[in-house]
């Protein structure tokens, strides 16, 4: 069997992974071979031990030291058989952040746990700190080797399932806001943590409010350094936006690149595909989606060549136009039928869901407005706006 390292050819990698999956994964039953049902922890541990969880990370950190391109081959092989656990170096935000900015101790202690467990939840936003994430008011007070946490978080997905949350807290109230923040890897399964689902306009409840009352987190679980949490947090949020720009917030089962786009299908079905005005709208909508794809391809190319790409930051913003635009056109295509909803009317249910869900991209993970600030300041080097609260002790900052 070929050794998986940077020198391995795509074919070698593929055959190693296929062989491994043949040996360990039952594609029929969708669980480990020889088992009757899927045991997540056990399966992820197998994947982790084989190095497939985070193939692009170095071998000393549980990976295989492969390139992104090589890793993609592993991801594809897993996806083909619907096997979980690969590509956690691309999607496990918590593990990525700890890997990038955590202390050696934290990495050794927690990465194996995290990579073989559910993904982390994100304890960032608060009712009074939505766009202004640095305005956090959740308190962390040192107490022996621990910190005691009290506060309220909102917009937390996976809060029920998560074993750990990435928690933004305030540890110093007497310095300007960015300088008194500490970022924790916070254990969710403890007293003092209450999770309450939010009813969303999509009909889903993927997000929660999290009420934290005198819960504890060890000081060793600080990600980065005390009071320097804002810096560590930048790593986490950058990855989140990158993931959103790839359109991963979209509903599953969306038509694939090579199949007929949903708008065309609907236009045919509702007998409007011959209307020149409709055709113009559909063409432009499809173009926006395709252009964003092309921009993201260029971004990936640039990242491979230069290690970074300013284009990447455009993806999430462009995706707002794509999603809101497509939903609006689809609504018009349906006409009366769009008034309905529910399982009996799947077209209506789909497009109404899409129309609401589009706000997930344009508001969630930083609104379009925040994203435009970032593009203007970081990509275009336009001068920053004067910050009214930057040099003020946080306790003196004005709030609602």
């Amino acid at each position: 069997m070929a050794i998986l390292d940077r020198s391995a050819s795509p074919e070698d990698i593929n055959s190693v992974v296929e062989a491994w999956l043949d040996q360990h994964w039952d594609s029929e039953k969708r669980c480990a071979k020889g088992e009757d049902s899927y045991d997540e922890k056990a399966w992820l541990t197998k994947v982790f031990e084989a190095g497939f969880c985070v193939p692009s990370w170095p071998t000393e950190y549980y990976g295989l030291g492969l390139s992104q391109k090589q890793s993609g081959i592993i991801e594809k092989a897993f996806a083909k058989r619907k096997a979980q656990g690969s590509a956690r170096d691309r999607f496990h935000l918590g593990a990525i952040t700890v890997f990038k900015v955590g202390s050696e101790e934290l990495k050794r202690a927690m990465l194996p746990v995290m990579l073989t467990g559910p993904i982390c939840c994100l304890l960032y936003s608060e009712p009074n700190a939505g766009s202004d994430l640095a305005g956090v008011r959740t308190k962390a007070i040192p107490d022996g080797d621990d910190f005691i946490i009290t506060g309220q978080k909102i917009w937390t997905s996976n809060a029920q399932e998560a074993e750990y949350g990435m928690l933004l807290t305030r540890t110093d109230w007497d310095v300007p806001k960015h300088r008194g923040i500490t970022f924790f890897l916070f254990p969710m399964k403890q007293d003092g943590v209450e999770v309450k689902p939010i009813n969303q306009i999509t009909g889903e409840s993927e997000f929660n409010e999290v009420f934290i009352t005198e819960a504890r987190v060890p000081a060793s679980h600080i990600i980065g350094n005390l009071n320097e949490g804002w810096t560590s947090f930048q790593t986490a949020i950058a990855y989140e936006r990158l993931i959103m720009g790839q359109g991963i917030t979209e509903r599953r089962g969306k038509s694939k690149a090579d199949s007929e786009p949903q708008l065309i299908t609907l236009a045919r079905k509702y007998e409007k595909y011959d209307d020149p005005t409709v055709r113009q709208k559909i063409a432009q909508a499809l173009a926006y989606r395709e252009l964003n794809g092309l921009n993201m391809q260029r971004a990936k190319q640039e990242i491979m060549t230069n290690g970074s790409s300013s284009l990447m930051s455009l993806g999430k913003l462009a995706m707002s136009r794509v999603q809101h635009g497509e939903a609006a056109i689809a609504t018009d295509l349906l006409g009366n039928a769009a008034l309905l909803d529910g399982d009996d009317y799947p077209d209506a249910a789909n497009i109404n869901f899409d129309a609401a869900k589009a706000y997930m991209n344009s508001i969630g993970g930083g609104t379009d407005q925040i994203q435009k600030n970032i593009i203007a300041e970081r990509v275009l080097n336009l001068p920053k706006e004067p910050d009214l609260d930057r040099d003020v002790a946080f306790r003196d900052v004005k709030s609602s």
Partner: protein, 368 residues
């Protein structure tokens, strides 16, 4: 022409507005939506008491003898609070159809009851006066002895579950006919699941239901009814657009982020200024349509179309941007913004799409 003086009209509006401000808050709105009827009947009865249900009905039939401008003011206020009462269907379209095409004494009886809040009429089928056309209906009306009987099925009928009458349009070989059917055992209503919870749509099934056929329906008369329906809906949308805009502006003034009210950020301000153009354009268009109808102007057709697409589009844009400007809080079911947004979306196909009205606007400019 309206029989109501400018002062009376303003007093009517003020009174109704004060009443709704006090009685039609979000809690009551949601309770009304969740109720069997779909709206708060006490509001409907209060509207009867204030004379609003008969605003478009002649004084001969206990109405107030108002015109399209008066209807518009009621609809604007109704729209502001999203009150999902069947005013446009019962008190505008049905009342106009009955006044024009139903003979006495039935006409007198029905119009008096509408004005008194004793009767609502749902509207379905096909034809220019039908706001949500169901071209796929299987309705048929046949003479059985002296009277007409109705059979078949029709969908997209608003508020039909509690309506006392159903006004049904049929189109055969391009000729419009319409029938009034009393709610009875011969008519069953099945509620449809809708995206806007305030919108009550039904499928109606008729089995040998007795019907009154409307008489002497002329195209110009039907078009007048249609235009009054379109203008009423446009006014409702204009009112709702302004309301969600006002709610948003208030939020921008009071919500702090980054140590400042978010309304002090220039990009947000500019969005707000652009939206104000839409809000005011909606109001102006709805008003112009109503005035043109009241004055019998030859431009009525044009202004009604203008109001239709302007108000639909303004409501859609402003309510959609309202969610964006509120941010996460408006992504929750408990915030009111999405109810405005859903109403805006529910109005897109009323009496035809924006694109269709735009085309019609261009045509009627040529004709005028």
């Amino acid at each position: 022409m309206s029989q109501i003086s400018d002062e009376d009209r303003q007093a009517l509006r003020d009174g109704f507005s004060r009443y709704l401000e006090a009685e039609a808050d979000q809690e009551k709105l949601r309770a009304g939506i969740a109720s069997d009827r779909g709206y708060d009947n006490s509001i409907w009865q209060q509207m009867a008491e204030m004379g609003l249900l008969g605003i478009a009905i002649s004084e001969d039939f206990d109405g107030v003898g108002g015109g399209a401008t008066d209807v518009a003011l009621v609809m604007e206020e109704v729209g502001r609070k999203l009150v999902p009462v069947p005013f446009a269907s019962t008190c505008v379209v049905a009342a106009e159809m009955i006044a024009r095409f139903v003979p006495d004494p039935i006409k007198q009886d029905l119009l008096q009851k509408i004005a008194a809040g004793q009767l609502t009429v749902s509207i379905g089928g096909t034809g220019d006066f039908v706001s949500l056309s169901d071209d796929g209906h299987s309705l048929s009306a046949e003479l059985s002895g002296d009277s007409w009987v109705m059979n078949g099925q029709v969908s997209f009928v608003s508020h039909a579950g509690v309506a006392d009458y159903h006004l049904l349009g049929l189109k055969e070989d391009g000729v419009d006919s319409a029938y009034l059917v009393t709610a009875s055992d011969a008519v069953s209503a099945e509620r449809l699941s809708t995206n806007d919870p305030a919108q009550r749509l039904f499928t109606l099934n008729f089995s040998d239901a007795e019907a009154i056929k409307l008489e002497d329906m002329d195209a110009e008369g039907i078009n007048q009814v249609r235009m009054r329906g379109v203008a009423a809906v446009a006014a409702e949308q204009a009112g709702a657009t302004r309301a969600i805009f006002d709610i948003t502006m208030e939020y921008l003034r009071t919500r702090y982020q980054f140590g400042r009210p978010i309304g002090s950020f220039q990009a947000i301000k500019h969005m707000a200024a652009d939206l104000l153009v839409e809000v005011e354009s909606g109001t102006s268009a709805a008003l112009a349509a109503a005035k043109a109808l009241d004055s019998g102007s030859s431009s009525a057709e044009k202004f009604v179309s203008l109001a239709a697409f302007t108000c639909k589009d303004a409501f859609r844009t402003v309510s959609a941007q309202a969610i964006q400007m509120h941010g996460g809080i408006a992504y929750t079911e408990e915030h009111i913004a999405h109810l405005y947004w859903r109403r805006a979306r529910a109005g897109l196909s009323l009496f035809g799409s924006s694109d269709e009205h735009r085309e019609h606007y261009l045509k009627s400019r040529e004709a005028a």
